[in-house]
Amino acid sequence: MLIRASRARKNPIASSEERLAWLMLAPVLIALIALGIYPAFNTLWLSFQQGGFFGIGTTFAGLAEYTRLFRDSQFWGALGFSLLFSIITVAGQMIFGTALALFANLRFAGRWLVRAAIIFPWAIPTSTNSVIWAYMFNDQYGLVNSILIHLGLMNPAHPLSWLGSGQLATALIYIMAIWKANSLVALLVLAGLQSIPGEVYEAARVDGASPWQALWGITLPLLRATLVVTLVLRTIESLQAFDLISAFTNGAPGNSTQNLGLYIYVQIQQFGDFPYGSAIATVLMVITMCFIVLYMRALYRPAAK
């Protein structure tokens, strides 16, 4: 005991804690390095190449593909779409998802149905869901126009082409994305709410706090870790969105709903331009990292060390 204690640089408890930490981290780190490191560095490496076709015959080009980005107006359009899409839909998902969870946490008969319903939008495969939405908003045989016609709100001779207008299509993409991922936020917040002991609320009620004050003073601060993590997860996924839009508008009309995910797809799968696609992906990675650092700095203060 004594010998071991003197050998350890700090105290024996700390060093055994550190050993345990590494043992517990090992499976995740090994798995990620084994399968993840090659794709990640392959992308970084390719982004400093140029030319080639489907990754064959590329040559080193330094920052050429990055400078190419500056002159590419399609890239800037896609970047703008991605940023706006992420900020708007993640904000919407956080607000509506949290509200849904708080509502589903009330006590009332039949709330299990609401709780089960929460998850539905998210349970449908993203690409299939987008096909169904595109079908609902189809100008010719879509449900929405049909309802409007049956209600006498629309002239059957002049159906509204929802997906033919860039602004309408963008708005629908926002709505669909918020609708689809509310679930995930609500599920996590609902689970987080279960770990708040009821006595806390009892105490607050006795002290005369209104439910609104309890929400902002107790519930949300106690959920901080869950909320920040959810925000980070939603941000990562929204910036990488692909299925959702590709099966809905595929970037149309024109390129008005093209985000970075779609643009990477066009470069890689259609043009076979791996270096350029990789450069865009790397920029996307850096942007995502900035968002995460920003959110964590602003919102995340570990409660206990």
Binding site: L35, T43, A117, L187, L190, S195, L222, F242, A281, A303
Partner: protein
């Protein structure tokens, strides 16, 4: 015993106050009950809207699905699309999806729980760096990972087997699962664990016996999320599977879409069939997500 002692003097006051409280609570619930059910109804409609439409579409003939203006209710409801989905080997896709999603979700959860605890509760050098390192792997869009991962899987001779999905699903689900679970571990008060360690439990035993039961809601929530992500994954499944190992999202598209046309009725039928197992799963786990804490507290 404590209750007996407490009951002596303030029994009157206590019961009075309690009666007042329940009265007030009942009054609130009476006035707001309508509101609660109205909101519930709106939530249900919004959540189920496209799925109801899919259900109606699945019962329509293909002529009805492409009429203008759209047929709102199938005039001659038929189950033909569901039979067609079965002929299109949807049963096989089910099996593949269940195997791929379940095994990889279980492996992800097992590894991520250990790591998340270490990140949330243990002190070690380089924690921040390692956390960013783990997150780093979720920052590249799957679109650029598909091909290099394909090369790895090919070297392992996994392409065309279900292992070609289990391996990447397990690994790429890790950053998300670690992050979610970390949040739940952080919300457990530290005193309980410290008390257990003072009582002579090892750190790891305290983790298994004290902390883990307290995060059961979080474990189930994370498991559901990881499982559904795997269940619905499209890009990897499309690239790494062949007809035999198609999962549901790929299978649905394969059986209902040709290059130029979509059989909306079949697509809807297949979608509904792919959602049903998740509904069952969620209904079973819903109680666990919500009651996990109390169950854990009773056990502990």
């Amino acid at each position: 015993m404590a209750t007996v002692a407490r009951r002596k003097e303030p029994v009157l006051l206590n019961s009075n106050r309690r009666a007042a409280l329940t009265r007030r609570r009942r009054a609130i619930s009476l006035s707001t009950r309508t509101l609660i059910y109205a909101i519930s109804a709106i939530i249900l409609i919004i959540q189920f809207f496209p799925l109801i439409w899919a259900l109606l579409t699945s019962l329509m003939t293909s002529a009805e699905t492409t009429s203008t203006p759209a047929t709102l209710f199938p005039l001659h409801p038929m189950l033909g699309s569901y039979f067609q989905a079965f002929q299109g080997a949807i049963g096989h896709y089910y099996l593949n999806s269940i195997i791929a999603a379940t095994i990889s979700a279980a492996l992800t959860m097992l590894m991520a729980t250990l790591a998340a605890y270490a990140f949330a509760r243990l002190r070690f050098r380089g924690k921040r760096f390692l956390l960013i390192f783990v997150l780093f792997f979720s920052l590249f869009p799957p679109l650029v990972q598909v091909i290099p991962v394909y090369q790895i899987l090919q070297n392992l001779h996994l392409i065309g087997t279900i292992g070609a999905l289990i391996l990447p699903y397990t690994v790429f689900g890790l950053p998300l699962a670690v992050l979610i679970l970390m949040a739940f571990f952080q919300e457990v008060p530290g005193e309980l664990e410290e008390a257990a360690i003072v009582d002579g439990l090892s750190r790891f035993t305290a983790f298994v016996r004290i902390v883990l039961p307290m995060v059961v809601p979080g474990l189930f929530a994370a498991a559901v999320i990881v499982f559904v992500n795997n269940w619905n994954e499209y890009l990897f499944a499309l690239t790494y599977t062949t007809g035999n190992t198609y999962t549901l999202p790929v299978g649905i598209v394969t059986i209902s879409q040709t290059e130029f046309t979509t059989n909306f009725s079949l697509l809807s039928a297949a979608t509904i069939m792919s959602v049903i197992p998740l509904v069952v799963l969620i209904l079973v786990l819903e109680r666990r997500i919500v009651s996990g804490l109390t169950a854990g507290a009773l056990k502990g």
